[in-house]
Symmetry: C2
Subunit: 454 residues, 2 copies
């Protein structure tokens, strides 16, 4: 292998790989990174909090600027985009978006970190002014500028997944009247509907108008601006509309180059984040599929924390190291106002789809000793495999101090623990932090009882 | 086996066992429980927070009253104390403390859950008025009554372990000037001194006078009341003194009966919480030794969370079930004002004593994404075995949201994970809850680097 590493995409996975390779190899490697946008290494997950006003400047979401990357010896080319990859010739064709010129760039190692693209359905009126996505810093700035310029009063958020609920909170905190519309039975389809129901009720308690089982049919537009969202024949008035219905892997460049894609459209990689069947071609971040350790399926889970880990693994391997990405268990946490939401492993439909037989339990517990001030309610649902007693998944909805307790379940899942084994776990106990039986262990005990009845 | 279960001790371990046995077996078992005090099933861990004013009534610390236990069919005898056990005759001699009468009580199953006794050194003046322990509800009431009656201005807390620092906080919040005295180099000897130093500095920042490397030599007494604490020849003025220097297992009754005790004086039990070599004799809670999964030694770790688990295991086994207590990994969390403190596994001296070779790392991180409001500093120290890379221990000192992160390390230790494996863990990430690399993973990465250098 020669010494030029070309990185496509300037965010978490790409720049983590680029930075680590440069740190490990110094002058022995030439690192060229292409980013079509205006920012590098930023936290897209932070955009809703910036819009909400928690964070003052969009710049605060940038972990490392282009200039900082260049100081570390990376040949970073902003507003440059790869338009094709020739794997056999080991070359990419690059377009400079500033002047629309093109050039070819050879590589020895290639890292594809092209991220994901927001889903935006082709509905009547979808291109009207006042309709926004929130995937990039530029998107966030556009929303903030629009709020300041147009002084909207009524917001409709399309999609009640984690981006949707976070943006609903942001709009509430900006003082708008907020409706959230989703096709599903309950918000947060990363939870089972019974747990999503708790989110639904809490959102209504915050004054948010939640419309579920409701498909958006189009947008009413007047003078080029959105004025309403048409849902099941009814129009919800709207001065501003936010799309938060998720993202799809941006694997098209890889697909066109003949590289393998999975069912989701994400790039298929091996344990070392190498593109399957290729030498010196790597992929990571929101454009790849990752292995789910519980379902044993390859899935698309776009999350900054995975992207950073991918980047580290690629950086090590490009530098002659020997790192692996060992899969995920499906952990996610989020919040809407002071309601915390967490999940890991499989939901009921996912467990069914994986061909597993299981029991479920749901317990009500408290985040602290019941007598301690601030002991907050917390609901824990668990799925356990009927045959083996193994934990298959956990979901948590509760107040302050609830969400990160999912990590205990995540590590338990990682090791295939049974719920019986989990009861013995030596978790931190003191009255300000936990009841004497941690809520996770209360749920595990309930699951053991349920399995004994089954 | 016949059908009478006799339980010695009415707190967590004893009453958990009694309650579960009664629930499982109903009328098929006679359960007699003896408690020498005036309360059952209470949270001694809650006493400092009651004294601090976080909790209004001592009754709130009682999970189940004597009357509630009796309603569930337990023959509960308050202010009755076992004074000897005859294992061969399967009988205990009981004293009724109310009238000093005695009687013999036969058993088929015996549960020894006699708890622990506070350490109170024989120093000049130690019995003066105004000097308190804080182990029981009665102790807590005595402190509160004393504070209200005597209006003290200056408190000295003897011992800077978790009870000591919690009581220091309680006294600060009661408006007293507080000194804490400890023989050790730094407070919180459940941490290594470098981490204890952080607690020391934080306590001083709260206005607490912290005296370390300082042995108490005696107490100055005037008119029968404490007026000062003599430390290394100097007198610290004191209107009230609180002892918080830990507890010793109350294994004397068992020892006198010829039952096996460990080096700590705690009762030796088997996997099922049966007393070693005995049939139908069980022990649990603060009077037993437990197996430490990392050091592979039997140790005395008095904690309500272990006691409850012991009680559950005994309750199952007495009822013909088949439960085990699978040991501890040494997890503990506590706080002083808004400083959170956590540990699990082995500290440096413990790892050395266990004959292990290791590296240590300490990292500074934040509880949330750096740009998120309330992102609080958090220091994580890790020990990893040099040969295998296995995690041996972790210590955390930080602000809100720090302490319960120790649970991730506790589950990792449970499974003997290497720090390299830990880097892959799929922990909950969202800006309000964690940086994109959780602080625990930042520490694991640092440990991997340190091992590579070693």
């Amino acid at each position: 292998m020669g010494n030029r590493l070309v990185v496509l995409g300037g965010d978490a996975a790409g720049m983590s790989a680029a930075s680590l390779a440069k740190r490990r190899k110094g002058d022995a490697i030439e690192v060229v990174a292409l980013e079509r946008g205006r920012h590098t290494s930023y936290s897209a997950c932070g955009v809703p909090y910036w819009v909400a006003g928690d964070i003052e400047h969009g710049d605060d979401l940038v972990a490392r600027t282009p200039e900082e990357h260049r100081k570390r010896g990376i040949d970073l080319r902003m507003q440059h985009e790869a338009v094709s990859i020739d794997v056999d010739k080991r070359s990419v064709t690059v377009r400079d978006l500033a002047d629309a010129s093109s050039y070819d760039l050879g590589f020895d190692h290639l890292v594809i970190a092209t991220g994901a693209v927001p889903v935006r359905p082709e509905l009547p009126g979808v291109d009207a002014a006042g309709i926004y996505g929130v995937q990039t810093l530029d998107d966030g700035q556009a929303v903030i500028d629009g709020l300041q310029r147009d002084r909207p009063r009524r917001a409709v958020v399309v999609g009640a997944g984690y981006i949707g609920i976070e943006m609903a909170e942001a709009m509430v905190r900006r003082g708008l009247d907020v409706s959230v519309v989703d096709q599903a039975t309950e918000p947060m389809t990363t939870l089972d509907p019974d747990m999503g129901r708790l989110v639904h009720e809490a959102m209504e308690g915050m004054g948010i108008d939640v419309r579920t089982d409701a498909a958006v049919e189009g947008f009413e537009v007047s003078d080029g601006r959105v004025s309403g969202v048409v849902v099941e024949g009814e129009t919800i008035p709207a001065d501003v509309v936010i799309f938060g219905i998720g993202v799809a892997p941006n694997g098209s460049l890889a697909g066109e180059a003949g590289l393998p894609l999975g069912e989701s459209g994400g790039i298929r990689v091996d344990r070392g984040m190498g593109v399957r069947g290729q030498d010196g071609v790597w992929a990571g971040g929101d454009c790849v599929e990752t292995f789910h350790r519980v379902s044993q399926q390859w899935v698309h889970v776009p999350l900054g924390t995975h992207a950073n880990k991918h980047g580290r693994v690629i950086g090590e391997n490009v530098s002659g190291g020997c790192a692996t990405f060992d899969g995920i268990v499906g952990t996610a946490v989020s919040k809407v106002c002071d309601l915390e939401i967490a999940r890991t492993g499989l939901r009921e439909p996912e467990a069914l789809a994986a061909g597993l037989c299981f029991v479920t339990v749901t317990v009500e517990a408290r985040t602290r000793a019941a007598y301690f001030p601030g002991a907050a309610p917390m609901t824990v649902k668990m799925l356990a495999e009927r045959r083996s007693g193994r934990l298959l998944g956990a979901q948590i909805v509760g107040r302050e101090g609830s969400a990160k307790r999912i990590d205990t379940c995540a590590v338990a899942l990682w090791h295939g623990m049974t719920v019986e084994e989990m009861i013995s776990l030596d978790l931190g106990y003191a009255p300000p932090f936990s009841p004497v039986w941690d809520p996770v262990l209360v749920a595990a005990r309930a699951a053991v009882s349920k399995l004994a009845e089954a």
